[in-house]
Symmetry: C2
Subunit: 416 residues, 2 copies
């Protein structure tokens, strides 16, 4: 069987069954990198020979390569956080998430690009679907590396929308789990209330397999015959403001799910959610000012003007406003639990539209902030495109702790 | 006014009001260090002149010195985690908690001893109340440094009982806040579900002042006339197993609070809490095996035999057992919310007795594990002693997020 017919979990299983050799799988990804990495620029550190020097641990990831966002500490590789301040910095040891991947049989291939400290300043990475477009951010390199078939699996982080948005723009599955399901230790922090480690893979089934391999939890997708979710299609201002193409994709997906047998109903999210969506920015920037205090005070000249300006503004956020923002998140959490009394999952766009033109901005996190603040699982479902062939991502939201349900519903929708 | 009559928040206020000079306060602490640090051994890194080289930021901490547990990254100082693996390691930048202290006007004086990676292997630090006794662990140096008047404030972390227990053994106030109130970024992780940054100061009022100075939250103690808490005195097996002296201190404190006007009632904590107490160990060790995977795999020879054995055992904890342990914590959290419908706070011993004799063990965390897993605030209340003069600590527990209440009730009890 030719390995390039397979990727993600099917490739891992084929290797486990002996149908594909590890070296052929390796050649498949190395070939893709040789062909396109110079154009895409997904990696900030890549040494393929060094990565494969030690034999991988036996495990479900079957020696397949994994890309790690460059704010995550990785033994033997630099962790530079997209910042000149950290140029050439090599830390000791692995972040727990990296150790967990190695133990599952993954090979850490290299470090993928990140916006500066996972904030908004763009990377030089390009969208593999159209090099003139942004891949999104902040986990730009991880999303692009999976989209370009450089790796079958990659790791990123989300504070506002940094997993789901780049996954959507790059047309791959992205999984932001429930808060604290994956450890953030050894990850350069931007906001301790929001930072969440997330995963990328080609499809929802692939990202669920990857999550199960890392955690040992039962997250891999099983879709029993006759299982149909009750889907609430989110109605709120940011959804209504999405592009016509995105609104069309949402309507098309809703209809397809209903045809397949899902209960599909509109769900209006009211005032408490609009307030929480806005509050997320306050939490992120208030905590960001504290997480990046040393960098701001000792190396202001090495920060981008954009980040320096954002951090300067953040110094003045009053603590009572921050506490009110945390409270807004708690209220939305309670309200959301009520919403989930009548539907299993929510469906809405992952971003206002396809990837914006150019590399000057990573796009808007407006459709992600709420779920980052509430801490519930979110999965970007790839497979839909606009007229120009750019991916349009939809996201599934599930209750806190119902990560397996989120992944299953995402696979259901992906296959509609 | 002689500065040595004052410490904690009263000293900070006296400096702010101009009644005490910063240099006199500095001389007070430096003198105590010169007199006793060689016997106590609270610091693993101390360079007093370097610490005071830059002028402190103006702020409520008024240039007072602060000790930082050596698993917390601190700019310009080594962060060695009590491990030969990390000998001489200097990381970039400050953990957010350190930045927050500097911004509040604190001077980072040095790094305080920690058990190896904040697990159980003891430090060489001695209890300032009796050098033949352990100060407890894992935040041994921070508790001892405050008890010996080397610093008025110090920072530690708790995963099992690593703030409340050493505070109790050393006779100082310890504050383990609600989970995630203080950032754990830049802290070497042992368990991402449990690790909590905590604070030490001479009294409950002092530690509340310190917490407010760092966070800007309204945590400083105000005790209005006529305010009396409803106190539930915890009845569970681990409390019944406490030493006679400790049981006596608990009874005496309960009676004193009732005399002052508090409602004091017994509260039996049943099966769900006993299960959760045991489950905390499973969570800690399962996650510990992942947090210390790199150290275990690449430097087994540089781990203590005790930690190596614990980590070896932890490799085999099945994931379903870990998930059941997390579930036990969630069930206890729900049950505890019900308990707090009839009382404001809970009262129980901070440890089974006074500090054990010798330095071979840091003592038992049996009375702390439950609260670490549930994530609720806990304050060690100092001021009681056994017949030999060793401190006996009692702890106040409050609902999640009710940190100000925990501190207020602790001050109330301290003043009974």
């Amino acid at each position: 069987m030719a390995p390039d017919q397979l990727t993600g979990y099917r490739l891992a299983q084929a290797i486990a069954e002996g149908a594909v050799a590890q070296r052929d799988a390796r050649a498949q990804f190395t070939g893709a990198i040789a062909a396109r990495e110079s154009a895409v620029g997904a990696f900030v550190h890549l040494d393929i020979d060094a990565a494969y020097q030690a034999a991988p641990t036996p495990g479900p990831l079957a020696g397949l390569p994994v890309g790690i966002k460059d704010i995550i500490e990785t033994a033997g590789m630099p962790t530079q956080c997209g910042s000149a301040i950290y140029a050439g910095r090599v830390t000791m040891g692995d972040a727990p998430i990296v150790s967990m991947i190695r133990r599952a049989g993954g090979v850490i291939l290299g470090k993928t690009t990140t916006t500066e400290f996972a904030h908004a300043t763009p990377t030089a990475t390009r969208n593999p679907h159209d090099l003139g477009h942004t891949p999104g951010g902040s986990s730009a390199g991880s999303a692009a590396a999976v989209a370009a078939s450089f790796v079958p699996f990659a790791v990123g982080t989300q504070t506002g929308g940094s997993v789901i948005r780049p996954a959507a723009f790059c047309g791959v599955a992205g999984f932001k789990p429930s808060f604290d399901l994956l450890p953030t230790a050894g990850v350069k922090a931007l906001s301790w209330s929001l930072d969440t480690v997330g995963l990328f893979a080609p499809t929802a089934r692939d990202v669920a397999f990857f999550a199960q391999a890392i955690t040992g939890r039962e997250l891999a997708v099983a879709l029993p015959d006759g299982w149909h979710p009750r889907i609430g299609v989110v109605d709120m201002q940011a959804v209504r403001d999405a592009s016509p193409a995105m609104c069309g994709a949402l309507a098309q997906a809703s209809e397809a799910a209903a045809r397949r047998g899902a209960v599909v109903v509109p769900v209006a999210l009211g005032e408490a959610f609009e307030v929480a969506q806005a509050a997320q920015v306050t939490v992120q920037e208030y905590e960001g000012a504290r997480c990046l205090a040393w960098e701001y005070e000792t190396h202001p000249d090495l920060l981008s003007p954009q980040l320096y300006a954002a951090m300067t503004a953040a110094q003045d956020i009053p603590t009572p406003l921050y506490l009110a923002a945390l409270d807004a998140g708690r209220r939305a959490r309670v309200e959301l639990a009520r919403v989930f009394e009548t539907v299993d999952v929510l469906l809405l766009p992952s971003a206002p539209g396809a990837a914006p033109d150019g590399l000057g901005s990573t796009g808007s996190a407006i459709l992600n902030r709420l779920w980052s603040l509430i801490g519930v699982p979110s999965v970007n479902v790839p497979g839909r495109f606009d007229a120009k062939g750019l991916p349009l991502g939809l996201q599934i939201i599930a209750p806190f702790g119902a990560d397996a349900l989120a992944l299953r519903a995402a696979a259901y929708l992906e296959e509609c």
